[in-house]
Subunit: 460 residues, 2 copies
């Protein structure tokens, strides 16, 4: 405990220098989607290697088919857990540049509202500011105790904003080196500015494209209307039948593997309530989907079936009285718990095929599959990190879900057999991917302190 | 009867000359859609005026905002009915020209199969060959008796293949001159090569475009899936609910004004059976639509609701997990009997609006409205023309419907208060609008003779 208090104190006194280091990293224009910035991406990787080497990590830039990875290792006490920290040094493009009120690559500290200081610049929140909370926590330990409480490996990628094409092959090739007891991922946010949060449930995804075919050509609806099957009707009927009147998905076995959220978690979500303005901000007011579920359940721990696109027949200006030869839709399923993405795909295909008239046909195309991620609510690392965060923020840690997926978390699980602890300090108004991105100094400062506490807690 | 027999005989002996005159008309490249052929269109009109003047009509070319009309008049015996014959002298373009086996504007008589002679060339069937059957019938009368059995007016238009933009204003401006007791329209076909036919029921049309709007922007289906209304789901459900399991349209009051087809007509259609290969030729085998109706009823005297186009969300290559802000569909209704197109539109709008969630909205756009045409099965002119045709062809005349509309017939009814008798001699294999268009010499010859008989019958 003496070490912890001293390390926290060191993190406090380091703050100005920590911010200075973050600013150095933000100044590097590591935009991964634009090949013109490839040298900047490498520069950011090299800068990180140097920063990690400076605090005793054995760190290196690793070439890939895309932008390089940074891999670093630091030993820990015997018997202490081995954690792999993940972040990404690449950033989004800055367009539209004219909407920025200051240079996106010249970070500045300003006061947003009285007493609320922020650092502005591309990547300050996503993800340079966040990853630096962990690096600075390690620095505080090293400068205070000369050691880290856990064995720590670090993986920084440079392609998170551009499809992570190198990631899976890199994980495969370096599985032995990267496998740890637990991954720490700092690329998420807090429930609100005062509530520390861990994301424990991430929905998976199965994407399908379905094409219903009827006649072998487009038909005149005067000549054939009333006799020739209309694939738009068939497709509409099927998609319309995919939910019942209570918003439940009607595909047989769809809910196999869906688990009820524990009562204490439900109670926590009840207290959090739905995000402020969640539907109102997009011009809606009535939650759709499963009527008997809370909004947060529908967001995080209930599966969905959504049609993402539909097309058939004449869709240009004016009118054409055609009965089209085919109609198609793109359908995606957000998955939770232990739902089997492949079984979902097969059951959907059967559901559709069973409804195709005998003289019509249907074709399917597969578009991506990833299972849901569900950290056990009883996992000891969750309890430890939750308590550590509560001590720092003075408020119970919220255990959240995420409606979408973070691919790296699935990759860590499937390729390295490793759970992830998702802790982040970004706020809803950080404007990530948009002009005038910022990170609260409070997020940064208490973020560093949070990791100091979490590393301490995980080591116990 | 002496006059009739002599006139028929004259039509027979005229045949070679009649064909020669048709060939002269076919040689004129009166393609109405291509402005380059505007002089040819005028030339065709002038040729017709001359041909009609030659047999005693007072005929003139009438300028319009588009291609000219031909209007001609010939008196008839006191008390005889006044008929207005309609045809069009313009033709379709000839592309793809490389698929023609001979020059489309150099008509030739060839033997298609042993004993089956045809004249080939653009417009031989649609509609130059057909309109000339009537002109040559008039010529046979004039050359035999020096008179016509009815008072005859003629209207030839030159924009049938390009939207008939001048037609409605022209009918309005010349209503008094053109109004007759009955219109004769020769732009349709026979049931088969041996069965003379009159089309007595033409379906009308109401076109609607419906757009369902939910959120005020496209949403990420991970973040909002399960809570935000999906307009594709709403639209699919509505369109899917528009027919019941028996193929009946479920919109309230949709069948108001739909009449049962008389038993004798039903028996006639039962005997005709569905057109050979009607569904098989387009790769289908099971009639859709109203299960308890015959195929011909479904084609001709039952109304339909068809979605002609649908679009919403992401429809490009690959996948985008979006919940779109809106989805839209183009829907058309084929109408029969006394269905009110405006009531259909209103009832459809109510059907849709009633199914829109309270926080979503719907917009409609109107696309065309025309009522159905139904010649009374008891009309005396129908009996007269039917008997005349039966005498010529030696087979009872089939009374047919048409799945689509012929705008001129609606215009004659609504603008001039005049019924139309649709008699034509085209065959299914005439390849109208396609390369190698042809017209059977038998159609032409017996077509002329048919009009000789019909004019005689109508005068009685």
């Amino acid at each position: 405990m003496a070490d912890l208090a001293a390390t926290l104190s060191r993190a406090d006194s380091n703050l100005d220098d920590s911010l200075d280091r973050l600013s150095q990293l933000v100044r590097i224009k590591s935009i991964s989607t634009d090949p013109a910035y490839a040298p900047d991406c490498r520069k950011a990787a090299e800068w990180l290697v140097e920063a990690l080497a400076e605090i005793g990590f054995s760190a290196s830039v690793r070439d890939t088919i895309g932008h390089p990875m940074v891999v670093a290792h630091h030993d820990g006490p015997d018997g202490a857990p081995h954690v792999l920290f993940y972040g990404h040094y690449d950033v989004q493009p800055v367009d539209p540049i004219e909407l920025w009120t200051s240079d996106p690559f010249e970070p500045a500290v300003t006061e947003l509202t009285p007493g609320r200081k922020v650092i502005t610049g591309r990547g300050t929140s996503d993800d340079k500011g966040q990853l630096m909370t962990f690096v600075e926590a390690c620095r505080a330990y090293k400068e205070t105790t000369g050691a880290l409480p856990c064995r720590v490996s670090i993986l920084f990628e440079g392609e998170e904003e551009s499809g992570s094409v190198s990631l899976q092959p890199f994980l495969d090739e370096n599985a032995d080196e990267l496998k740890a007891d637990l991954a720490l991922v700092c690329d998420t946010g807090m429930w609100d500015a005062d509530t520390p949060s861990i994301s424990v449930a991430l929905r998976g995804l199965t994407g399908e494209e379905v094409t219903v075919k009827a006649a072998d050509r487009d038909l005149h609806s005067g000549h054939y209307g009333g006799n020739a099957a209309n694939p738009i009707h068939i497709l509409s009927s099927i998609l319309g039948a995919m939910h019942d009147e209570n918003g439940r998905v009607t595909i047989p076995h769809f809910y196999d593997g869906v688990h009820e959220t524990p009562q204490d978690i439900m109670a926590m979500w009840e207290e959090l309530g739905p995000p402020k303005g969640f539907l109102e901000d997009i011009g809606l007011s009535i939650p759709s989907g499963e009527r008997d579920r809370s909004i947060l359940e529908r967001c995080w721990t209930r599966p969905t079936a959504e049609v993402n696109g539909i097309t058939g027949g004449y869709t240009g200006e004016g009118f054409k009285t055609v009965i089209p030869a085919q109609a198609s839709a793109k359908v995606s399923f957000r998955l939770v718990g232990d739902q089997d993405p492949h079984a979902i795909r097969e059951n959907f295909r059967k559901f559709v095929s069973d409804r195709i008239p005998a003289d019509c046909s249907v074709e399917f195309a597969e578009h991506g599959t990833s299972g849901a991620i569900q950290l056990s609510y009883d996992a000891p690392e969750l309890a430890k990190a939750g308590s550590a965060l509560e001590e720092e923020w003075g408020k119970p840690t919220a255990l959240l879900g995420m409606g979408g997926s973070i691919p790296i978390v699935g990759d860590f699980q499937s390729q390295l057999g490793m759970n992830s602890l998702l802790v982040g300090f970004a706020l809803e108004d950080d404007r990530i991917h948009s002009p005038n991105e910022k990170y609260d100094l409070r997020s940064f400062h208490k973020g560093v302190r949070s990791w100091v506490r979490i590393l301490d807690a995980l080591a116990r």
